[in-house]
Every structure is written in structure tokens, then in C-alpha cells.
Amino acid sequence: MYWLDALSAVLTIEPLLAIAIGVPIGMIFGAIPGLSATMAVALCLPLTFTMAPVTALVLLLALYIGGVSGGLVSAIMIGIPGTPSSIATTFDGRPMALKGEGGRALGLAIFYSFVGGLFGIAVLILLAPPLARFALKFGTFEYFSVSVFALTLVAGLAGKSLLKGVLAALLGILIAATGFAPTDGIPRFTFGNPQFDAGYALLPVLLGMFAVNEILDYAARPPESRVSPPAEFTRPRFPGVRMVEFIASLPNVVRSAAIGIGVGLLPGIGSSASNLLAYAAARSSSKEPESFGTGNPAGIVSSETANNANVGSAMVPLMALGIPGDSVTAMLLGGLMIHGLQPGPLLFTNNGLIVHALFVALLIANLAMLLVAFFGIRFFVRILAVPKPYLLALVMVTCVIGAYATGNRMFDVYTLLAFGGLGLLLTRLGFPLPPFILGFILGPLIEVNLRSALMSSRGSFVPFLERPFSAMFLGLAAAYIVLVMVRKVRLMRRAA
């Protein structure tokens, strides 16, 4: 019923224009090392304030797809992944480009990004609605437990150390507690200053952590580590692969898409891991594993299929449960909330049309990515030559505009700079940022659900363990922590 209405809602000038603008802008952000899909979505969020909800969300999704795909350009042309989701693309893409096969490498990467994207979107369309129906049975106990589970996974998987991940997540939770407390409105960490009463707005925190942090990090880096020479450009041929090659690559495609989807469904791992896992799987199942890393097209196929398959599947927990699994989906959560849409099971019941419009928009944006990438590839390669100081200075100005537009007050701009500094400090000390952001977003959810649950149970914690799904998620979180610790002890013993 919704599909036809959704199609007619998206096939109008404004959403189509949003896709036509969002995909190339996302690709530019993805192509330039240091800029990312997360930053593209964060910087463009304020621009959507005055847009209609469908157009605004379509723009953000187009930026997301473009941002994840754009990383392949720099991975192949300069050997530096534009985004962490294209790390494995450099392993064979760069050697192919240096051998004069850059055009073929770009063509393969673009085509399999499209194919991977289709797999991910299919999973989103098939899995999110039943999961949302199931989650309708969740109460405050279950929401508390599922949030704790998601946060534990993110804390453990985002960095090298579980301890540092947990510390970053706790810091995010504590900082999110600033302002009036839920339920009784008691001020916390406000130091008597009314500016702190509403807490820190999400957007300046995100922009500070990811964009201002990047500018400060660039400034802190020695000049010699800021440049790398591009390979000679050769134009790819549409569609990038012949039918025989495509059929031969199908086992690799299906395996890599499955890995990308699996990784996307679980909170915390993200596309930066999916491409590496898919690459490793492709290499170990290849008859000639030694050719990987020297310019084997199968390496590009696995990496690019997996990272784009991740896009659709990462949106399943966001849309069905209201729980973002990584930084980009956290931004999308912000985008949905700004437009009065609360992600979670009720989104499907109350805003079914918008949900289906987003499904349609993702399919169109994925196709647009294929066309924009193929026919605009020369432009994206040229973008790599634009001096980074100009780009970063411009990003800073956009951040200030975005932060100020959040609430038309300078406090949000001060927040931006403060969190930029905090982001740099955490990064330089080896603390991962995704757990901090997830802690910042999930902290208030955890507290509200915990307080409501305890009010309904008259202060008893027992129902958290009595209710099957709540107990299951808490048990999984505990089991995960034990697993990581056991593995660590084993490694230490082996090293001793």
C-alpha cells in the first residue's frame, strides 16, 4: 500500500534534486582522506532544518551512500583510503593503478559498490519491518538492556582495548547527563550557568568530535605526512565489468555481501571492519592467495561489495529499534529526530509512508551513485588535487554555521570548539570516538528507561533478569566482556 505512495513522494523534484546533489557531495567527502561520510552528513544536517522531512532525509541518505562509496577514488588513485571503509580497496586497487589499470580498478570498485549497496538495501527492506513489529513488545526493561548491550559491543569493538572503549563510552554517558535530569528536572553539572540547562546539543558535539578534531589533527601533523602523489588517471568503461567476469565473481560477491550485512547488523563494528573481513575471507578462499595485494581484482570486489552492503544493514537497528550502531547512523538518528521522527518500532506504524519513501530513496541513491561515479570520475580524481588547507578551513566555517544554526546561540559554537579539543585529546591518547558518541546518545535513553523501569518495579532490579529478552541482552553483554577478558589473559600468557 505504501510503496506506490512512497514512489510518488520520492519521484518529485525536491527529493530527486536532493539525491542529485547529495550523492556527489557525499562522494567528494568520501574521496578526500580525512573527510568522511559522517562529516558530510553532520555538516549538511543544519541545511535540512528548513526542508520537508522526506527531502531532508533523502539528502542525508544520499550523502551517506556517496560518502561510503567515494573512499574508493583516493584508495585507488593515491593509495590512501578516503574513508576507513575503503582500507582494503587500497591493497589491490593501488597496485592495479600503478600498473596502468587504474580505469579498470575504478570501474570494478564502482560497480561492486552498487551491487553491495543493493544487497544491503534488500536486507533493510526485508528485515527492518518484522524486527520493528517484534520490538513493539519491548518495554523499558528491554530497551535498557538492549542499549547496554549495544554500548558494550561498540566499546569493545571500536578500538584496540576494551578498557579504553568502555572509558570513552562512560565519558559520553556522563557528559550527556549535563542539564536538567529526566523525570524530576534537577539540574546536573550546570555550575549555576543557565546555558548548560538543556545540556549539549548533539550536532555541535558530533561536528566537534569529527570535523573540528580532524582540522586540529591536521594542524598537529608534520607537513611531510600530509601529501601523497596520485597515480595516472585512466577512464573506467561502463559498467566496469563484463558478464562473464561478473558471473565468475558471484561467490566472492555473495560471501562479501553476507559479511558486510552481518557486520552492519551488529552495533559497533562498522564498515571499516567489514571491508577488511571480506578481503581476508576472499583471500583465504582464493586458489591464488599470494596474488592478493599485488593487483588482484577479487580484492577490490570483496572490499567494495562488503562496505556498501553495510550501508543498508547498518540502518536496520537504527530504524527498527532506534539504536544507531556507528557514527554515521548516529548522525542519521539526529536527522530523523530533528524532523520530529523518533526511530524505533513506532516509526513503522506512525510514519510508514516516510519509512517506505526512505527505502525507495536508498534504491534510487544507489543507482545515482553508480551513474555519478562512472560519469563524474574525472572530477572526483581532480578534487584530490585541491589543496587540503583550503578544504579544511572551509569545513571549519561550515561547522560554525551548523553549530550556530542548531539553536541560534553562541554557546553551541563554544561547544563545537570544546568537543573538537576533546576529540583530539581522546584520539591522540588512543581512545576510540564511536563509543563516546554512542554513550552520549544512548546515555539519556539508558537513564530514562532505567528510572521508568525501576519506578514500575518499585525499585527492584529483579525484573531485568526475569524478563526473557532483557535477561538475554544483559547476558550477551556480560558474556562478551568475559570473552574479551579471557582472550586477553590468554594472549598475555602466550606472550609471557
Binding site: T50, L170, R188, A220, P387, M396, A405, R428, G430, L454
Partner: protein, 162 residues
């Protein structure tokens, strides 16, 4: 910075921050007849930060039988690179100056000045580069005002001159 030094400094900072936040959280008024009050979560989280910060700190202290050299030879010791404090300090000062100037001078003037100063800090300082930077700063700030203020309808700081 090596892994051990990172952990030492990180652990110490989290320990101090956790303790300070815990002391503050203890002063949050309690008013919950049933369940937990508004001080519960900040208190627990601050305490956990202090304890885990201490664990990180203690784990990274040099131990007997292990030399500094061993500890410093972490697998990713080469990844962390030196920090150029001068450029970083100047960039922070430029951004801070920009933010201070915004409500006084307004978006266009503050942005043009910031862009120029930031480009001088980051890029080449030849007369030609300075000219490009100046042109880029003026054109960009005016274009950004036009695009965001009039194109997207966003409110931007207009300064004391209105």
C-alpha cells in the same frame, strides 16, 4: 607517543576527571521516593570512570623485570607521530579568535579574517599564495553568507553593526 605513555596519561586524566565528577555528583539533590534519583547515574558512571582510569594507569606503570624499552616497543609504536605544537597552537588561537569575533564583527568579516589567518598558518606564505588566500577568504565568506542566509534561510551572527 608510545602505547604506554598514552595509557599513563589517559589513565591519570580519567582518574582525576572521574573523581572530580564523583564529588560533584554527590552534591546533586536527592528526591526520589521510588527507584533511583537524579544523582544515581552520574555518581555510578563517575565512580566507574575513576576506577577504570586507575586500572589503566596502574597497568601502564613500568614493572620490575620489564624495561622501558620493552614497553615502548608496542606493535603500533610507529603509528603515533610527533605533534607540531606551533601549528596546532596557532590553529586553536585562530579558531578561538574567530569564535570571539563572530558576535562582535558579524559572520562575513569574522569568517573572512579567520579563513585568511588559517590559510596563512597552513599553506605557503609567498606573495602569490597570500593574494590567493585573501581573495578566497573574501569571496568565500560573502558567498557562504548569501548561500546559507538567503539560500537555506539560516540565521547567522550579524555582529554589533546589525
Amino acid at each position: 607517543m608510545t602505547d604506554r605513555k598514552e595509557n599513563l596519561l589517559g589513565g591519570a586524566l580519567f582518574l582525576i576527571f572521574g573523581l572530580a565528577a564523583y564529588v560533584y555528583a554527590r552534591s546533586i539533590p536527592r528526591r526520589a521516593p521510588v527507584g533511583i534519583d537524579s544523582g544515581f547515574l552520574p555518581e555510578i558512571v563517575a565512580l566507574a570512570i575513576a576506577v577504570l582510569g586507575a586500572v589503566l594507569l596502574v597497568r601502564s606503570l613500568p614493572r620490575r623485570g620489564r624495561t622501558d624499552g620493552d614497553a615502548d616497543r608496542a606493535p603500533d609504536a610507529g603509528e603515533a607521530e610527533r605533534i607540531v605544537w606551533l601549528t596546532l597552537g596557532l590553529t586553536v588561537a585562530a579558531i578561538a579568535g574567530y569564535i570571539v569575533l563572530l558576535p562582535i564583527a558579524g559572520f562575513v568579516i569574522a569568517t573572512a579574517l579567520y579563513l585568511f589567518v588559517q590559510l596563512v598558518i597552513f599553506a605557503s606564505r609567498s606573495p602569490r599564495a597570500l593574494l590567493y588566500a585573501a581573495l578566497f577568504s573574501i569571496v568565500t565568506s560573502v558567498a557562504a553568507w548569501g548561500l546559507f542566509r538567503h539560500g537555506f534561510g539560516l540565521i547567522l551572527p550579524h555582529g554589533l553593526w546589525g
